[in-house]
Structures are given as structure tokens and as C-alpha cells.
Symmetry: C2
DNA sequence: ACCTGAACACCGTTCAAGT
DNA sequence: ACCTGAACACCGTTCAAGT
């Protein structure tokens, strides 16, 4: 039965299914997507241009959940809140993140977030060049932290006998996501404190 | 001519070719690797178990270029030096990094580095749990910064009309790798300063 | 021990054919 | 407008056959 009465597909439906497939399987394929949607693989191409576009749609979907909001309080509190919100968006679907790093971004879907960060750093008194570096720094730290969230526990298993400092540290490690969350909060506090210290007038 | 007089392949030769292929093409395939090595794809399986093992071998190769060295000076200088060395190793082959994030690490090849960082943080007076968080923070920041290095210039093209703070910042952006390098140095200074400030006794 | 050729299952994508 | 079936090029991997 070609062309059923009710629409079987749309870019949104396909993106939803792809996110669910990555959440459960760690990756997605066009045939796998088609099967979940009870459709033939070629049908997908009536709605999306291909696999790359689905990845970009998933990225846009994740980014669209970021609520920038009005700045409240100190600029450093604004930066911390934006960084937490940014990571929260990634953390909702941690297994998507490796797909994002593999593929070049095609549209600045995170521009609203970047600009809110840039405004906060501008308020802090940084020069435009420093603002760019500071936004990049927050972006790098959040992305790296989000990747840490997707890492399995086994990463740290079977450590060598030597290295007492790291072994002692590892023995305190609980399961994810608590460990990654705690590390992110620790790092964010340090990073924001360090940015405050870099401020020209100590604002 | 099966079995030529001189060995055509080895795990090292295959890993070398894979790194070169990723450097130039952004990815590698078994047939592509075989062609470069003037061999049939099935020949590769006499030396490596498969694609995943090649990725792990590339990771190990990159990590093996990290020189930990003896700590000199303040613990915070040691941390900064290790972070720079870690990122330098990644930066030598930036297009490899997305492959690393896609695949789970199978052996703690970076343990020497992690332990040197852990020792520095222990010297600083952090508790074992804080040491783990601090090592994770440096790891996340370096990985995120290395991914930034692989990002093409176009990422920032065609920004919206709104958003003056970010637009002003973007106008200062030079080409990579200079832009990414400068952002990393800025972020590293902030992060290390922030870590010093988190120290129990202000050591 | 190690390279080859043939084969397999699988993937992304295209396109004419249907309604 | 949109789903299908068939087809294509390509990929990762296996394995018996060669020397």
C-alpha cells in the first residue's frame, strides 16, 4: 500500500526515532530507522536529504532545549548558569555527542547561547578577543565534560599497579552519571573562579 | 605473488598508514588502507583484529608521544605543562580525535599522564575525590579544546544579525590553529588559576 | 606465516514505478 | 505528494586456497 491515508513520516518523526535509536543502541542506521518507523529505507529520502541531515537535525533538537533566559545576578553566575544549561542539554542524550564531534556543524544552532555567554564576558570587561577565547573555553569544557558522561565505567578498570596518587583518586569514583556530574561541578567552579581572576578590573 | 620475500605489513605499518589517511582524508577505511599499502583488504586481518583495533592503536600511538617528565617548580606549573603536552599530542593529528570519541577506550594508555596530574593535585593538598575531579576536569578541557582545533573555519560563518557581543568577538577571530591555540592558552590560564584558588590551604 | 580471491551481510543513496 | 522495489557502489569481515 503506497501512500497510506495518514502521513507516516516527517523530518520531526525521523529525528525523534533517530534520537531514540542512538539512546538505546549507541548509533543509528537508515535501515534501522526505517524498520522502527515501519517503512522502507528509501522512504526516508522523501523527507531528509540523508544521514548527515538527520545528525544536524538531532543537534538542532538538543540545542533547542537550551533556555538562555535573562541574566540574573553577577556575570559569573550567568556564565555558570549557561554552562550548566548547555551541559544539561547534552547530558539528556549523552550517546549523541560522539556523532556531533564526527560531523562538521553546518549552522550556528547554538548562537543564542554563545551570544549570551559573550554578553556576560563583555559585561565583565573582557576585550572582544578575550570574549571569543572565553566563550571557546566554556564550549570546550562543556563538550569535553559531556563526552565524559558518555564514557563507560570500564575506562578506568584494570589500572596498573604503580601510580598511587591516581589509584587513590580512582577508589573514590562512584558510578556515572554522579561521578561525571560531580567532576563537572568541581571544574566549573574552578573555571569560573579563574575567569573572574582574569578580569581586567577584578569586576 | 602471495607471500613476497619481504614483509609487506605489520601492526605498526598499518597504524602509520591509517594515521596518514585520517590526516589527509579525515577518515580511514579498510579498502583505502589496503590500497595505500598495495595489498588486498583481507590481508590486513593477518595483523590486526579489525577496524576498532586500528583506532585503538592510533590512540596508543598519539598517547605514546606524551612526555611526562619530572615535575619542575610549582604544582600548578606542572599541571599546566602536562595539559599543554597532552593537547600538543592531540593537536599533531586533530582529525583523529573524533574517531577517539566515537569509540570506547579499551586500555588506560594515558595512565602515566593521569597519574602525573594526580600527583600534582595531591601535592596541592586536594583530597583523593577532588584529585579525581581535577584530573577529569583537565582531561575534559583538553579533549574539548583539541576538538575545537579540528573544527573548520566555516563553523562561525553566516552568524545572525543580532547578537552584538558575539559578533564583535567573532570579528577578532583569526585562522586556525592560531585561534584555537590562543583560546586554549587563555582557558588554561583561567582553569589553573581557578584550581589554585580551590586549594585547601591556598598552597 | 602471510597474502589472495571469493563470498557474505550490511550500509547509504538513487530512481523509476506506482497510487 | 510520498511510499516502494530494485539497483548500485561501498564497507567490514571471514575463510578456504595458495605458497
Amino acid at each position: 500500500m503506497p501512500r497510506p491515508p495518514t502521513r507516516l513520516l516527517s523530518p520531526e518523526i525521523i529525528t525523534d526515532a533517530a534520537i531514540r535509536m542512538v539512546d538505546t543502541a549507541g548509533d543509528f542506521t537508515m535501515p534501522g530507522l526505517a524498520e522502527r518507523l515501519k517503512v522502507r529505507p528509501s522512504s526516508l529520502y522523501n523527507h531528509v536529504s540523508g544521514r548527515a541531515e538527520i545528525v544536524e537535525a538531532m543537534r538542532a533538537r538538543i540545542m533547542s532545549t537550551i533556555a538562555v533566559g535573562a541574566p540574573a545576578g553577577d556575570w559569573s553566575e550567568t556564565v555558570a548558569a549557561l554552562a550548566r544549561e548547555y551541559r544539561r542539554a547534552y547530558a539528556a542524550h549523552p550517546r549523541l555527542i560522539p556523532l556531533f564531534t564526527a560531523q562538521t556543524v553546518q549552522s550556528p544552532v547554538a548562537f543564542g547561547l554563545y551570544n549570551a555567554l559573550a554578553q556576560a564576558f563583555t559585561d565583565a570587561g573582557f576585550t572582544p578577543a578575550q570574549v571569543l577565547h572565553a566563550v571557546t573555553t566554556v564550549d570546550s569544557f562543556v563538550l569535553g565534560s559531556a563526552l565524559d558522561l558518555a564514557a563507560p565505567e570500564v575506562v578506568w578498570a584494570n589500572v596498573p599497579e604503580t601510580g598511587d596518587a591516581m589509584r587513590a583518586a580512582l577508589q573514590t569514583a562512584g558510578p556515572n552519571p554522579q561521578r561525571a556530574d560531580a567532576a563537572f561541578e568541581f571544574g566549573l567552579r574552578a573555571l569560573v573562579a579563574g575567569l573572574v581572576a582574569q578580569t581586567p578590573a577584578g569586576r
